[in-house]
């Protein structure tokens, strides 16, 4: 009989060997001669800690799996805490939450508001992807492609046609939706995992095109000086950008402060997010929302009842893409500068990680996950280096231990009321 000590020691040993070759030795080139040296001490320490963790995990395997089994739950969605179960309680809570979010920018620092705005963009992206992945059950690995379409739509429309943000926003959303529709139409017939790879390829194609079509997009240099949105034509600059334009502080006769702009952007992002949440809340209560769930459960049964799976999936794909388009054009406006670098596969993976962490299909879960995943790295800068490493690890562990996400969906059931 194999003792648990020896199997744990074996696992730790394997970890040491696997890790030593890449962590323990550093490769460098001196002149033209490649040389090796023993790595910096923190890598070695990291390796030893890793091996120690593996040893402990293996040694206490039985205990660990007891805990993880509990985490998994019974696969069912958990009940919400008692203070937020009824529709009325939820409405009151939502009211207070929105109130707090509205007040937040006036009470906190400029930096905090800025991070909050970024977080809201990720919330929006997470919610949009959640429609595709969580509600319709389609794994889209090229979501960032639609985000790019939205961002570049605004940037290019502004660059070539001098179009304002508010004019461009619906066009950007519409264009992203159109891309979603055109891509989805042929590929949504594919099986789930093939669909994932095809969308990944699509996202990469978009990025490569943006990178290489230098005459139109500026290539890797991107597009700079994208104007910020205006409030009914009022600009948030110190001086009007052109003859005849009015600035916000002149109009209200107050002195200029760069904070107005930051706060305005935050409030706009908040508005977009609230709108997104409302739209999705309605969608799940509409026939198409029901069809998404049915399709996720049994696509053969759906077809036998006359539901056209491709159309229903196409709905989710197009709607999800349009949210990415809105988020993208807002992102372009906030940054003032975009380049293909912002739209790599890693970005898609981060958005997917948000959906996975929050709980597929769960709006509240996705909102909280997006906050956690953007705010934590900002709070601990030294942690930034390890961000993607931990995201990857988290995706694996979540799938193994809690595939339904931290806060799984509690779907609203339509009830038959009888008198």
């Amino acid at each position: 009989m194999q003792s648990r000590f020896s199997s744990a020691a074996l696992a730790a040993g394997v970890t040491l060997i696997l890790g030593f070759m890449v962590l323990g030795i550093s490769f460098s080139v001196e002149g033209v001669v490649p040389t090796l040296e023993v790595s910096e001490s923190h890598k070695i320490i990291g390796l030893l800690i890793g091996a120690g963790l593996v040893f402990l995990l293996q040694y206490f395997r039985a205990e660990v799996s007891k805990v993880t089994a509990k985490m998994k739950g019974d696969g069912q969605a958990h009940e919400l805490p008692s203070f937020m179960r009824t529709e009325k309680q939820q409405r009151v809570l939502a009211f207070w939450a929105v109130g707090a979010l509205l007040l937040f920018p006036f009470l906190s620092s400029r930096g905090a508001v800025d991070i909050a705005t970024l977080t809201l963009i990720y919330v929006m992206l997470g919610l949009g992807l959640n429609v595709v992945v969580g509600l319709a059950g389609l794994l889209d690995l090229g979501y960032v492609g639609f985000y790019a379409v939205g961002a570049y739509s605004y940037a290019l429309l502004n660059l070539y046609f001098d179009m304002s943000f508010w004019m461009a926003l619906p066009i950007a959303g519409g264009l992203a939706a159109l891309f979603g529709y055109l891509l989805g139409f042929p590929v949504l017939r594919l099986r789930g995992d093939y669909l994932a790879i095809v969308t990944l390829g699509f996202g990469e194609i978009i990025r490569i095109l943006l990178n290489n079509w230098t005459e139109l997009t500026g290539g890797p240099n991107g597009i700079a000086r994208i104007p910020k949105p205006t409030l009914f034509g009022l600009e948030f600059n110190r001086r009007p950008s052109e003859e005849g334009a009015t600035t916000f502080h002149d109009f209200f006769g107050i002195s200029y402060s760069s904070e107005y702009k930051v706060i305005f952007l935050y409030l706009m992002a908040l508005l977009l997010v609230l709108l997104t949440i409302y739209v999705i809340r309605r969608l799940v209560r509409m026939p198409i929302g029901r069809a998404w769930e049915a399709l996720r459960e049994d696509d053969i049964a759906c077809r036998s009842l006359g539901l056209n799976p491709t159309n229903i999936k196409l709905g989710a794909f197009t709607i999800g893409a349009s949210f990415a388009g809105f988020a993208g054009s807002f992102f372009a406006a906030r940054q003032g500068f975009i380049s293909p670098e912002s739209f790599t596969f890693i970005e898609s993976a981060i958005i997917l990680a948000i959906v996975v962490l929050g709980g597929m299909g769960s709006q509240l879960g996705v909102v909280l996950a997006a906050c956690a995943m953007t705010i934590l790295p900002e709070m601990a800068r030294e942690f930034d280096e390890y961000r993607m490493l931990l995201f990857g690890l988290m995706m694996v562990l979540m799938m193994i231990w809690r595939p339904q996400g931290l806060l799984p969906m509690k779907r609203p059931h339509l009830e038959l009321k009888r008198d």
Binding site: I17, M21, P34
Partner: protein, 308 residues
């Protein structure tokens, strides 16, 4: 006239070189898919790790004063195979085995997480910049006029193609003759049934991952020496290319992966040679999308019948 023919043949030769390494990596995708029906998204990272290991071994041997290139390359490949297959084995144990009864998408997300994890693990360990290895095998066969139109096939290209042929022949022998090979083939047909017949499916699956990782490490060593550089991000694109090759040939089919790899390599090299190198990745991805849409079973694969 003859000029353009020389050019064409040169492109084909280059394409076959790259294509054979795609084929080596594609075997890993196709065998795993054939047996457990999942896309091993982290496979490209195993290839990348294999390249790093072989670079480290080559550098180590150089420092120790070895000068026989063949022994050095052989050793680098051997160590690369050992470490990469240990990675392949571990990846399966950690990230896929607990999910065998889950839905496909759950396993795929886990695989994507694994891929991101490995990529960043290597980035943290070895830095995110290119590391370069001076070319150890120089020269080649020259056909035609050295100053005018000619074809140059480097010794490295020859080594890549010959090694690939040897690996493929070995794999074919293993699959068709050995006991484990038979078990693999049976499992690809129906893994539940072979399990009932007393074949340990865990061993079969582990073997599949080890074979796939070994071949990826061979490809990593060869391609690393061919290009002379590696960085933590090469696995992602190489993995996608190899997956395209596997799908093109018909996923689940080993000869299909070989054929698909060669076809993809040649079509990429022709695109780069006659149109523009910047869009060769676009060609590969568009090819993937088109095959999946119009020929999802690939060239040598079998069409799937939906179970109702």
């Amino acid at each position: 006239m003859s000029d353009s023919i020389y050019y064409f043949i040169q492109q084909i030769a280059n394409g076959l070189t790259i294509g054979s390494t795609y084929a080596l990596i594609a075997i890993g995708y196709t065998m795993v898919y054939g047996i457990i029906g999942m896309i091993n998204f982290a496979h490209g990272e195993v290839y990348m790790i294999g390249t790093y290991i072989s670079f480290i071994v080559l550098a180590g041997l150089t420092m120790l004063g070895f000068d026989n290139v063949f022994i050095m390359v052989g050793l680098a490949m051997l160590v690369g195979i050992m470490i990469a297959s240990a990675y392949g084995f571990t990846i399966e144990k950690v990230a896929y085995k607990p999910l065998r009864s889950s839905k496909r998408l759950i396993a795929l997300i886990s695989a994507i997480g694994m891929s991101i994890f490995l990529q960043n693990y290597i980035r943290l360990a070895q830095g995110s910049r290119d590391i370069a290895m001076p070319s150890m095998i120089q020269g080649g066969f020259l056909l035609g006029d050295p100053d005018g139109s000619h074809i140059l096939i480097s010794y490295m290209q020859v080594i890549i193609i010959v090694t690939t042929v040897i690996c493929m022949a070995g794999l074919t022998l293993f699959i068709s003759r050995s006991r484990m090979g038979r078990a693999c083939r049976a499992s690809a047909q129906d893994i539940g049934m072979t399990n009932l017949l007393g074949i340990n499916s865990n061993n079969v699956i582990a073997t599949t991952f080890i074979i796939g990782a070994s071949l990826a490490a061979v490809a990593g060593t060869l391609l690393g020496m061919y290009y002379g550089v590696v960085n933590p991000y090469v696995g992602f694109i190489a993995g996608l290319k190899a997956f395209t090759a596997a799908v093109l040939g018909g996923i689940g089919s080993i000869p299909g992966a070989m054929l698909g790899g060669l076809l993809l390599g040649v079509s990429e090299s022709l695109t780069a040679g006659y149109f523009t190198a910047e869009y060769k990745d676009v060609v590969a991805f568009s090819l993937l999308i088109l095959i999946l849409l119009f020929m999802p079973q690939g060239i040598l694969g079998k069409p799937e019948v939906e179970k109702i």
